[in-house]
Symmetry: C2
Subunit: 526 residues, 2 copies
């Protein structure tokens, strides 16, 4: 998986602005830029003995008189800042209005910025938007600093449950990271984080709860219940974020413990609510969320697919960083690879693993059961255990041997089986087969870079014709951006969350059977 650089790129690339309208690549739809935070230039009369109105009233009444904008409340920090600010600006400034609330003032002519953040277990990705025209001014991806408290989310949640201090630290490091990213992004666009007056954050439910300091006990224990499923709107400063003092943070709803707002954002960006043909939406990761749209019904499952496709727990696995093999073919006993940035090969990232397994199956070096056939002489077998040397030291510039072991295959199989079983149960719950699917949308960084042929051959994706498969990149991040640019997108996200049905795989009597059947590679039952 090309984790971070790609998250960054894909958030940045998905919404393409065209004047005041934004096209999202995934759905090829138009999006009208109608940000919730609007700016209006105002020049209220300065105070005098003949005009003794309060400072805030001057601005509010000017907004009504000049722009027909009705403000029924004034943010408390904004109220605190107005007197000195308006006097230094000689009573000429731009007012920031969100709905019917006056949230701030700024000098005339300065950009009004918004930030969309995708809060992943592994990485944080943020894109800075100009709210006036919807253009992306800068983007950035980073490792989630919570990693130092545990690479996986379970470890972090356990830590937070055991100690309020740890919970506080887990929250704090993310808040600090986002504040810093906001500052860096704004600086790169010639502004400051103070100019960011709206924020949308999407993420899985556990990240959401850690970020908001919500209770975790009922989330961690069966039957796994989020404390909050509704959307949340809270002043960014209440969370400790250093943005514009009046800025709000919007979190879309997260319908279930294993279906977070990132899934909702992905469905929004992919246009799931606008389709009426049977469609499948997949976001492949350590947890893979899959949504089946059938008629007006939306059903989602979450599959514990493990980190194999992130290159974790594999003998030569690695993240999607320069030197990772992202494409691999095997023909006539000859290994051909493509590495990230063209660097000397150092290991296999998710899409490379997928290609390798697909080629092993295609060329008979692996049985559908996953058993490696080391009697074959296409690749050099390992001496110490079952497996192959894919590239020997020095071969194509490899600094060390790149290998594939039998236990690597088992990890890939478990991941693929979880995803395939989830897909099949979803289809079964609606009385459909993969053949009925008019569209399979693959989201996420790994989903964006995987070789569709390989994925279909192994059974990771249903064997639909290639033209029915759409790769949409980091649709969750794109969805966050859409919600930043349009309140009607927030309504749509909330509508999606309300109508979404969550199918708990553990409750499905058929799950174990289908999962075991799905362990075989290349197998996709009709």
């Amino acid at each position: 998986m090309r984790a971070l650089g790609d998250l960054r790129l894909s958030i940045a690339e998905v919404p393409v602005t065209a004047g005041h309208r934004v096209l999202t690549a995934g759905s090829k739809r138009d999006l009208a830029v109608e940000p919730l935070v609007r700016t209006y230039n105002v020049e209220p009369a300065p105070p005098s003995l003949a005009d003794l109105r309060a400072d805030d009233r001057r601005v509010v009444e000017e907004l009504a008189a000049t722009h027909g904008v009705r403000c029924t409340s004034v943010d408390s920090e904004c109220a605190r800042l107005i007197p000195a600010f308006m006097r230094t600006q000689d009573w000429r400034a731009a007012a920031l209005v969100r709905g019917t609330e006056l949230i701030g003032m700024k000098p005339v002519g300065k950009s009004v910025l918004g930030l969309a953040v995708d809060l992943g277990t592994t990485g944080l990705a943020a894109s800075l938007f100009d709210l006036a025209d919807g253009t992306i001014r800068a983007s950035k991806g980073e490792l989630n600093p919570q990693q130092r408290y545990g690479a996986d989310i379970i470890t972090r949640i356990d830590g937070a449950r055991r100690s309020p201090e740890r919970a506080g630290e887990l929250k704090h490091v993310v808040i600090e990271a986002i504040s810093r990213m906001a500052q860096e992004l704004a600086a790169s666009a010639g502004g400051s984080a103070e100019g960011i007056s709206d924020l949308v954050v999407v993420g899985n439910t556990a990240m959401h709860h850690l970020f908001l300091g919500l209770p975790l006990d009922q989330l961690a224990r069966a039957p796994h219940i989020p404390s909050v499923g509704s959307h949340v709107e809270v002043k960014a400063r209440e969370l400790g974020l250093k943005l514009h003092p009046g800025a709000y943070t919007y979190f879309p709803p997260n319908p279930a413990a294993f279906i977070g707002s990132d899934h909702i954002a992905m469905l929004l960006a992919a246009g799931a609510h606008e389709t009426d043909e049977p469609s499948l939406y997949m976001d492949i990761g350590t947890n893979t969320e899959i949504c089946l749209l059938a008629g007006e019904r939306m059903t989602s499952v979450s599959c514990a697919s493990g980190p194999a496709f992130e290159g974790v727990h594999l003998s030569s696995g690695m993240g999607a960083v320069p030197g990772a093999i992202e494409r691999l073919t095997l023909s006539n006993g000859c290994v051909q690879v493509q590495t990230i940035d063209g660097d000397a090969p150092r290991g296999l990232c998710g899409s490379g693993i997928l290609d390798l397994c697909s080629e092993l199956l295609l060329h008979g070096l692996m049985e559908p059961s996953g058993r490696l056939c080391t009697t074959q002489d296409v690749l050099k077998p390992l001496e110490t255990e079952t497996g192959f040397i894919v590239l020997d030291q020095g071969e194509l510039g490899a600094e060390r041997p790149i290998t594939i072991h039998q236990r690597d295959i088992r990890n890939v199989q478990l991941a693929k089986a979880a995803i395939q079983a989830g897909t099949m149960l979803l289809l079964q719950s609606e009385g459909l087969t993969w053949n009925d699917l008019s569209q399979v949308v693959v989201a996420g960084a790994f989903g964006n870079y995987l070789n569709l042929q390989s994925a279909r051959r192994l059974g990771l994706l249903p064997p639909v014709p290639l033209e029915r498969i759409v790769q949409v990149g980091n649709a969750a991040g794109a969805g966050a951006g859409m919600m930043l640019l349009s309140p009607s997108c927030r309504d749509q996200a909330e509508q999606i969350a309300r109508s979404l049905r969550y199918l708990e795989l553990a409750r499905e009597p058929d799950f174990q059977r289908i999962f075991l059947k799905s362990i075989a590679l290349g197998h996709y039952e009709e």
Copy 2:
């Protein structure tokens, strides 16, 4: 002036409940009890593998299903508390809803309380209401703890402007006092401050700004501009108040530097917005606010009347505490007094001073110019300066001599002149005379206890027939209670604030002339 005990009593006494309707004594009007915070008993289904909804959604969806109540947001603290609380309550509890926001949960059957606070420069007065039926559960008055930073508001504001630490202390001591009063009131009603889920605070603009930590520079310097004139709604916890975690604090608008939300609350309670005959509304204190209602026009002035009627800066003056002379008559050379609580006389409070001046004038011991005629032998003249001994040591049990000096009379004259000049300019601005007034409403603790005959004789009140004068007690506190019990009263208060015109006396060319003419006692020009 009977300052504190009376503030307490008068807040408590003004609204009289009758079933679910509250009568306000001042206006004799009905008030429907429709508090903004409502409670609904809910029994959502507990979580199970078959029902994995988030905890907050269970409550929100149950509210919609059982009570038809739509919540579009959940307070963040409420969300944090729901999981543990609902599990200890076995999923049976009462939900607190404010508008469309779920602000909290409580055990079934516990009272929902609200607090109305009148934030005075001298005293704090608070009344605790049961929001279910509008009854007053307890009331309390205390000295404003900011007194230790300066008895008058100017000293406190200067301190706050010079040092942010001082500003913080001024804010902190009031917050702490209100939190403590809330706790004591709730305890006396068998509850706790956590049960207080709504709060309305009224006060003068300076107290409002100190309380909210708003900028003071533009308020303290001419032309004296409030930073905030709009109503303010803010979570009580954001201010540091220890009430229900989801409780809001509502501050009505304060239209001008010297016309605060207490004036608006007084006008609301006195029914000023429901009258169409020319009426005058006066709240007499260190600053005296007067409003003239003429047709649909409401105009207010603020008069710097000084603290004479609070018994301050007078040779034998004192606050309205036990032992203060509150009524005084002089006949046949014999002084008769009534003291607060019947204690031995220790000095004169505001209404006593007023009676004394009136009697001096009536019996020729004082000329209309204010000059004391010590040649008279009705009262024993002072030996060292111009003045009288009202009661000698031991007389009627007096512990020390109670005296009136020429300079005391001057202080009373200045106060009376400021109030009379304000009244006359108001009338003049609308082309009216006092004779056109169909009603003179006198609010405040001093206004409630003053002898109307004395006040008219001296020219403090216009010489209208007694039946046109109404004493309404602490109408500001009563107005705060009304806004607590009914959102439509908040709307009315905002409407009053919007329509109110503020007349700055300093700008009126006639003010100085009328003020000087008004120094004469007993004088009220036709």
